[in-house]
Amino acid sequence: MRRSLQALRRRWIAAGEFSQLGGCRSLQTFAGTALLRPTEAASHRPAFWAGSSLAARCYSSLPPTTELCMPALSPTMSSGNLVAWHVKEGQLVAPGDVIADVETDKATLSWENQDDGYVAKLLVPEGAKDLAVGSPVALLVEEEDQVAAFKDYVPTAGGAPAAVPAAEPEAAAAAGAGADEPAAAAGQHNSRMGPAARSLLAESGIPAGLVTPTGPRSIITKGDVLAAIAAGVKAPAAAAPPPPPPQQQQKQPEAAAPSRPAASPPAAAPQPAAAKQAAAAPPQPAPAGAGYTDIPNSQIRKIIAQRLLESKQTIPHLYVSADVDLDGVSALRAALKQQGVKVSVNDCVIKAAALALAEVPAANALWDAAAEAPKAAGGVDIAVAVATDTGLITPIIRGADAKPLPQIAAEVRELAGRARAGRLRPEEFQGGSFSISNLGMFGVDEFSAIINPPQACIMAVGGSRQVAYMKEGLPASKAQMTVTLSADNRVYDGEVASAFLSAFSRHMGNPFRMYG
């Protein structure tokens, strides 16, 4: 449809006015014309469009629309997710109104409209992912009564038959042409071959049947083998694993891409490995009995995965654990609760860690990759891990050693709430000198976490448990939890880690000094 619109538009501009083609009005795009993919250079096959008969085709009885396409809301954005629509079909929009929330590669931003009109159709649903910049997402019309015409309008993917077959025969022809030659050559070469060609074939391991012979009487020449090697023709042994999908491909008749199954082994040529070919066929119905569901990875999770791998591979982790008594903290919490202040164990952990970092400055350091040395962090900024639907995010409590405990509690609550809603500002989760991850509420006794570079340490806090001990000759029980430091061994050595942990334990055991 995109190409047909371009063709239509060229005609109109040449004519100098809107022309009514055969009594039906064609789709007009205003600055929607400007929103086509910027990669299309002006010289990109103009003859194809100008001379095609696509221009004669028109959508019957659809009023002229303005196409709204996915905007590039940051200079580095190439695709985005449409998180939520702020308008409904039929709604009047004015310049300056927010139409939608768009998730870019960096943050979720509001998209403001610049045109007057009524929303005729929302072409993509809320939550649509990976929409390329420039792809149409909505249609605006000028008059309210024109909205009804779009009630059953099917957007481009389904309703552009002329463009898709035009593209498809080209693609199919190209693939077919590529497929035909090897298929024709299969088994049709002369067994006579020069010694150079023979040795090259043996060296490369390409079966003679896959090489196109160009010599007289279908003799394979050395040039043919070199061309086959250059084209990346692989021996079918590489196509064997995994056998079931490609074979099923050939058995099942394909409606969508008729040339692809036939070309499946030779079409391994344009692709480095046949395994990729198999992997490229996921739209296939899965073989019976292999029930699974693919859950797409969100942008945040992809980045988290990348960073975790990088951290684990490049940072030498040092693990140091300690058991910390929790009775003092429980007493403090009870006392505060009586005064109406709600403070959780995690808040006390944050404060105790902050005080310990202030006491042991060597522990409040970052690893400076450029200088290859530890450098002191500016202040005690504690990043608290919060699990959200989209992934793990760490809002930061800045200057935690100076903040009073109730303030830390309030901040953590507020930041966690906003983190779950996806409304954190970048400066609120970027940075930090120390991280704390608490899985105690999930019944975990002890675990070790992965450091978030460029920080040098993360503390993993487990759950509390009752432990028996001897107190003045009599058995008693106390609450304890295990904390495990994962520290960057280039910044922390054992001495620093244990100094930090002992300061931490001391503060946790002496909570009334923490408060205030």
Binding site: R9, R10, I13, F30, A31, T33, A34, L35, L36, P38, A42, C69, P71, A72, L73, P75, A94, P95, G96, D97, V98, L109, S110, E112, Q114, D115, V133, G134, Q339, V341, P404, P406, Q407, A409, A410, E411, E414, G516
Partner: protein, 401 residues
């Protein structure tokens, strides 16, 4: 101490800022366009504009007359500039325009009123927010869009970009990238007018963000000393990049900042008020010397396309200005409400303008990028035996002839 369970420090600051924002917004809203006192006689409209605030000068009369043809031409130009800036926004979001892009929508009345009062023989120099100035000085929309897209059909052959449009034959001296650098140049243009006795004026435009820069006051001083025919125009859109005027300037009354120079504050969203002010200022400048005009205007977009424009002001403020003071709407209402034209004529103009912009965009997309050899043109290439002095005059280097 327990009351420390209070608002987050940032939250408190935001509250304070919000309060000030509403105050500022209220100040902006108070000056809604006066649409009450309008009389029509045949094809001529007489309207009362908002009163001028003056400093060391008498205010011009607030009763302005305009004919239907004048208003139609203003409307066409205002609408054209508005649609051009909107399409620049959409092209930028489609990545057809890259780099800097500072949009003028909301401020169109300033340049249209200026052109209505002044001649092409008067010089004008402005900041990087210059797309509309280029068109108002006789350029075409296709030139502007071509330049924004970096094509050879652009105003500066695709080599200048958004900030460097220039039209020498219309005495438009750009398009300047450095904030406030154009004001001393503007004073120099006024000196040229005085020296050559042209009888014209030079207009040096700058924004409220630039208004606190030192070289502007140096220009004021020299212009006033020599009685240069210079009109200094502060386009006060109330925000620097994101800093509100009351946070940037101790005295945000920019029309008084000329101190010994007379000044006038004008409703910059009303093209007729602006025209009246410029006509008055030109008469004054040619006869007496420099004058400062402050245009009370507003930009709907952020400072540039990298700025969403909503982090330092509320959306409500923007939409209230759109509803109450929009320059294009004002002229449209003057034309329609007073029966000067039919609504269909207005619609026709709008359609034609959209087509014109469409055609400009298409032409620009089809135009080529500059050839590589253009890297070596329009640059100073021949040293001509120039001599460079070192730290002291004993060390002199002579460049090749």
């Amino acid at each position: 101490m327990l009351a420390a369970v209070s608002s987050h420090a940032a939250g408190a600051a935001r509250q304070a800022l919000g309060g000030s924002l509403t105050l500022a917004a209220a100040g902006l809203q108070r000056r809604g366009l006066a649409a009450s006192a309008v009389t029509v006689e045949g094809d001529t409209l007489t309207v009362e504009v908002n009163p001028y605030k003056v400093h060391r000068i008498e205010a011009p009369p607030t009763t302005v007359t305009a004919t239907k043809d004048e208003l139609m031409s203003y409307f066409k130009q205002l609408y054209r500039l508005r649609r051009m800036e909107i399409s620049a926004d959409m092209l930028y979001k489609a990545k057809a325009i890259r780099g800097f892009c500072h949009l003028y929508d909301g401020q169109e009345a300033v340049i249209v009123g200026l052109e209505a009062a002044l001649e092409k023989s008067d010089s004008i120099i402005t900041s990087y927010r210059n797309h509309a100035t280029h068109v108002a000085r006789g350029g075409t929309v296709a030139e502007v869009i071509g330049e924004l897209m970096g094509r050879t059909t652009g105003a500066s052959k695709g080599k200048g970009g958004s900030m460097h449009m220039y039209r020498r034959e219309a005495n438009f001296f750009g398009g300047q990238g450095i904030v406030g650098a154009q004001v001393p140049l503007g004073a120099g243009l006024a000196l040229a007018h005085q020296y050559s006795d042209t009888g014209g004026v030079a207009v040096a435009m700058y924004g409220d963000g630039a208004a606190n820069q030192g070289q502007i006051f140096e220009s004021f001083n020299m212009a006033a000393l020599w009685d240069l025919p210079c009109i200094f125009v502060c386009e006060n859109n109330h925000y620097g990049m994101g800093t509100a005027e009351w946070r940037a300037a101790k005295s945000p009354a920019f029309y008084t900042r000329g101190d010994y120079m007379p000044g006038m504050k004008v409703d910059g969203m009303d093209v007729l008020a602006v025209r009246q002010a410029f006509a008055y200022a030109k008469k004054y400048a040619v006869a007496n010397g420099p004058i400062v005009l402050e245009m009370d205007t507003y930009r709907y977009h952020g400072h540039s396309m990298s700025d969403p424009g909503s982090t330092y002001r509320t959306r409500d403020e923007i939409s209230s200005i759109r509803q109450q003071r929009d320059p294009v709407e004002h002229v449209r209402k003057l034309l329609l409400d007073n029966g000067l034209v039919e609504a269909s004529v207005i619609k026709g103009i709008e359609k034609d303008t959209k087509k014109e912009i469409d055609a400009a965009i298409e032409a620009s997309k089809a135009a080529p990028f500059p050839d590589m050899k253009e890297l070596w043109t329009n640059i100073y290439a021949a040293p001509l035996g120039m001599q460079l002095r070192g730290i002291d005059s004993t060390h002199v280097e002579t460049l090749a002839a």
